[in-house]
Structure formats: structure tokens, C-alpha cells
């Protein structure tokens, strides 16, 4: 029962109207701790987009060709998390071999991705919503882009915030969360355009 949604609408929706971070709260931990620095945010956003798209497609294939035919659906959490951890590990080794420069800049962020809830969350959303392969590809890629966009925007705002007077009790995560709240409101504004579940 694949829902009949145009993949491009799905792509747009996953970036803006149902942004994985601002509407579904996924990937918050690293989002709050990394977003103080634009360069790191960019690196992490790129890494998340790549890993998200890769693992979503692999997990989709395993789910549809292995777990469902063999009636092992209850194992999906374990399988998904192993796929994610393994993909991150392999990617780490490949990048180290192919491009040491990129490895140096991504190095610390790659292991962090394993525990980024956005990656597992997208895999689970895809399972619940019964997307087909093309939809999976567009949805996961869009979610990655949406996450990247959100963290870059927050990093840019944080740069301004560093020079602004903030009440002592609100400093740090408090003001960050309120800033994210305003961003989320702006993104909610897109939701009148289309609604995709």
C-alpha cells in the first residue's frame, strides 16, 4: 500500500514543511551541541545527508526483501541500528583512504552520527509510511538536506547571538532552544503549502 505521492513533493516536504528536526524533533542532541560553529555545522550537515540517504535505502531493501518475507519484522530495530553503525564505520574507512583532508574535517563527526536519532527516525518513518524505493530515496535525501539547512541557519543565528546581551539564566541551551522555537515557527509557516504524511 504505497502512498501515491510525487517524489518531488516528498523532497520539498521533507526539507521544509515537515523538516525532520523542526517538526519531528529528530537529531536534536548533536544539533544543539555542534551548532555554535558554522564550519563544523556544515561538515556535520553534509555527513548526516550522506549517511541518511545511504542507510535509508539499505534499510529499505533489507526490510522489504529480508525482514518482511521472513516474518522477522520485530528484529527491525536491531537490524536498522547495526546497518547504521556499520555504514558509518565503512564510510569512515573509505573517506580516510580516498580523501584524508575530508576525513580530518569530518573525522570527529562521523561516529556522532551513529547516535543521531534522525538517521534511525527516518528509517522508521519510511517503514511506517510504506514508501517505495524512489520515495525512500527522495524522502531520506530531503530530510538530510532539511537537517543541514536547519543547522546552518541556527549556526548563523548563534554567531549573532554571541555578541548579544542574554540574561544570565537563559545563556547557553536555553536561548538556543528558544531560537529553534522561532525557526520552527517560520518553518510551520510553509505547512499550508502542502501536507505530506
Amino acid at each position: 500500500m504505497t502512498p501515491d505521492i510525487n517524489p518531488f513533493i516528498l523532497l520539498f516536504a521533507s526539507i521544509f514543511t515537515s523538516n525532520i528536526l523542526l517538526a519531528n524533533f529528530l537529531g536534536m542532541c548533536s544539533f544543539i551541541s555542534i551548532s555554535k560553529d558554522i564550519k563544523s555545522s556544515n561538515g556535520l550537515g553534509m555527513a548526516v545527508t550522506v549517511v541518511l540517504t545511504l542507510t535509508a535505502v539499505i534499510n529499505w531493501a533489507i526490510l522489504n526483501y529480508l525482514l518482511i518475507p521472513m516474518n522477522l519484522l520485530y528484529l527491525r530495530y536491531i537490524v536498522f541500528i547495526i546497518v547504521i553503525a556499520a555504514t558509518v564505520q565503512i564510510l569512515e574507512m573509505v573517506i580516510d583512504r580516498v580523501s584524508p583532508g575530508l576525513y580530518m574535517s569530518l573525522g570527529i563527526f562521523l561516529p556522532l552520527i551513529t547516535v543521531n536519532c534522525a538517521i534511525l527516525g527516518v528509517a522508521l518513518f519510511i517503514e511506517i509510511r510504506n514508501y517505495n524505493l524512489i520515495q525512500t530515496l527522495f524522502y531520506s535525501f530531503g530530510s538530510g538536506l532539511g537537517w543541514w539547512l536547519a543547522i546552518m541557519a541556527l549556526a548563523a543565528i548563534q554567531k549573532k547571538l554571541q555578541k548579544s546581551p542574554v540574561p544570565a539564566g537563559l545563556e547557553g541551551p536555553g536561548i538556543t532552544l528558544i531560537t529553534i522555537g522561532f525557526m520552527a515557527m517560520a518553518f510551520v509557516g510553509f505547512s499550508g503549502m502542502l501536507n505530506v504524511q
Binding site: F25, C29, A168
Partner: protein, 203 residues
Amino acid sequence: MNEISPSEILKNNVWHNNPVFVQILGICSTLAVTNNLTNTFIMTVALIFVAALTNVTVSLLKSLIPRKVRMIVQTLIIAFYVIIVDILLRAYMPEVSKSLGPYVGLIITNCIIMGRAEAFAQANGPLLSFWDGVTSGLGYMWVLMIIASIRELLGFGTLFGIPVLPEFFTRWTIMVMAPSAFFLLGTFLWIVKSIMLKKGAAK
């Protein structure tokens, strides 16, 4: 190694070192369910269950797990308990399970559980670890329950699904949407941090 007393663990996990407002951990998946008290309650109970049992298991197995693969082993232990929770919810509360959707599975990536397993259970006995898991879960629970009650009260006019506010009260739809969760948690952090700063200054 000097042992910490259980009451100290309780105080630490519920206030001084609270996983939500001091360590800013694990707010990812559960913020999404705080627009409804029932869901929040079940999610946090599930989290306490998983955190406590994971801590016990990690504590019992700590000498058997090679250091290099301990992260993946811990993740698998967590995933094992989350599967149990998922199956129980499906069997006994199918409606709640449906409305929580993927967020039950996302307990796996809740950083609090992994963090406590890594920081506490690796170094302490199973009983203390169990207590540590329960109390950090409680520290998480009370914060989220407060946020959830504000959101549900103002957003739907109900508490635990029971109508509380009078009929003429206009529901604040924003409260059940995503941004309000951020605003409320941010404000909550502000209040708590101010209290902590004041106490620190008084000392």
C-alpha cells in the same frame, strides 16, 4: 573506589545533574510526544524501564565486553529492551503504540540511556546501576511531564484526556504544534538555571 550513596544518586539525577536541563540529553524523540500527557507518561515509563535494565545488564557484563566493541554491544542491549517495550505496547495498548509511532523505537538513540550505561554502569555494581537508571529516568520524567501538562492543558483544554478547562476557553493550537515544545523547554531551562545561579551565589 568510593561508593556513592543511593540518596546522593537520586539527588544528582533528579536535580544537580538532571539529564534534561543540565546535560541537555535525550530531548530529541520525546519532545515530539509532549503534546499529550498520556503519551508522555508511557514514553517516560518505557524509558525508565529500558534505562534501568540496560544499566543492570551493562553492569553485569562489563568485564566480559571488550572495550573496543562496547558501544555496539551497549546499543544492542538497549535495542533488545526497546523491542520488549514495543511488543508489550503493541499487545496491551495498541492505540497508544499507534499514536507514538516510530518514537518508541527511537528510545534506542536516546542519549540518556547510552550516557548512563557508559558513565555509571561501566564502573558500578548492578544494584546501584539499576537505581541510577531509575533515577535518571525520573529526572527526565518530571521535566517532560511538566511540559506535557502545560501543552495539553492550553492546547486541548484537557489533562490525561479529561476536559479540565471550561467550554468557552479558546484552545491555543500553537501549543500542540512543534514550536511550543522548544519555547517551553527553553523557558523551563531559563527558570531552572536562574534558580541554580541564585543558589550558587548564595553559597
